[in-house]
Amino acid sequence: MLKRTLLALPLVALLSSSLLAGCDDKKETAAKPQEKILRVGTNPTFAPFEFQGKDAELTGFDMDLIRAIGKQMGYKVELHNLAFDGLIPAIATGNIDMAIAGMTINEDRKKQVNFSVPYYTSGLIILVNPDNNEVKSLDDLKGKRIGVQLGTTGAFKAATVPDAKVVTFNNSDEQFLELSNKGVDACINDHPVVAYYLVQGGKGKMIGNVMEEESYGIALKKGNDELTKKVNDAIAELKKNGEFDKIHKKWFGA
């Protein structure tokens, strides 16, 4: 008798939990049939564009911008936290509608996704440890270890350095951590992100000039021209009514 009760217990637990889970779903979809949701993917390890704020909410220039765009379009923005190199595949499969993640518009990516109009202009910079006086330019990185974030233009740039060992990380902060642990000789990442890291107290120094002029865009599903147009119209409207400048000033002081 006891044995049978004990056997039945986990079965009952499993069944009741699946029933409860089913209940929740029905309630949610029933309550919000009118709300249009924009599922936006991002990789919040890229301050000041997207990062985890003190209260665990995703914050940053990109985050403020996408929320403003969503509001302008009349959609509710639902943020999804993904690895950077997982963003474009997620758009392709339809897991997310778009991605905003300091993503540079380039030819390779344009083959996979639609891009909005550029909303920020940036470039790449090399970061080394404060006590490193050897490395002064990209050429000095020959044969060295370079830390990068997987799938970024910084990674592609590092791949062009002859004989360099490129070490890939999923997140921006991990590559900086690796540099401070002396696991790599330098990092290559987007200039504003490196600058912000140093301003926040990160140890290191930027060397050389800003490389590659790059424009960030919002990535959307390839061929989804309707949504792309809506996003572009929203950005244009935000630039017109001053919202865009307000957000830019908040994060970049100008």
């Binding site: 392709a92 830390g147 890939t168 999923n170 696991g183």
Partner: protein
Amino acid sequence: MSIDLDFDLIIDNLPLLLKGAAVTLEITALSVGIGLLIGMVVGIARLSNFKAIRWLAGIYVDFIRGTPLLVQIFLVYFALPKILGMRIDPFFAAVAACSINSGAYVAEIFRSGIQSIDKGQFEASRALGLNWFQSMKFVIMPQAFKRIIPPLGNEFIAMLKDSSLVSVIGFEELTRTGQMIISRTYAVFEVWMVVAILYLIMTLCISRLVAVLEKRFNTSKR
């Protein structure tokens, strides 16, 4: 709906993926090998007559089994250098984290294998004048060995798959190699399919090997 498989892409990148698979096998073999040595010592320590030794071994096993391997890898690779003040080689960190992890699970395999041997065996060998070490070495361990082989084989297979976690420190084993190819080519479906198949081939081979070993050691018993 059709799935267009880019076979050319698969063939072009196969050498890279095979290299990644070789690295996976290498760190798995090393980790389980070292884990075996650690596990043997700790497993027996768990059965020691000395409370202090039992207690220390218990802490090690509880900590490792109670924390995710991913967190252990982060601790070894990112946190430890901060304490030591020097960098740790990725290969060393990967093998260290996986060995220490494997060691705890192997310890439990050894402990339960030894404890499954009838207590009468130990009592009889002691009665015959063998001390604790001799009893273990000549009577208990040889019998426990047969029972330990299947779970050890499982541990090897589990570690082979868990080794994919070292991809987070950028270590270029099979999973990381797959991610790197995808970041270049965006061929998500093709690459992950091939990676999965490669893992499957490796684990199936090991399963076969373990089955052969089991048969070999069972012929002595009727």
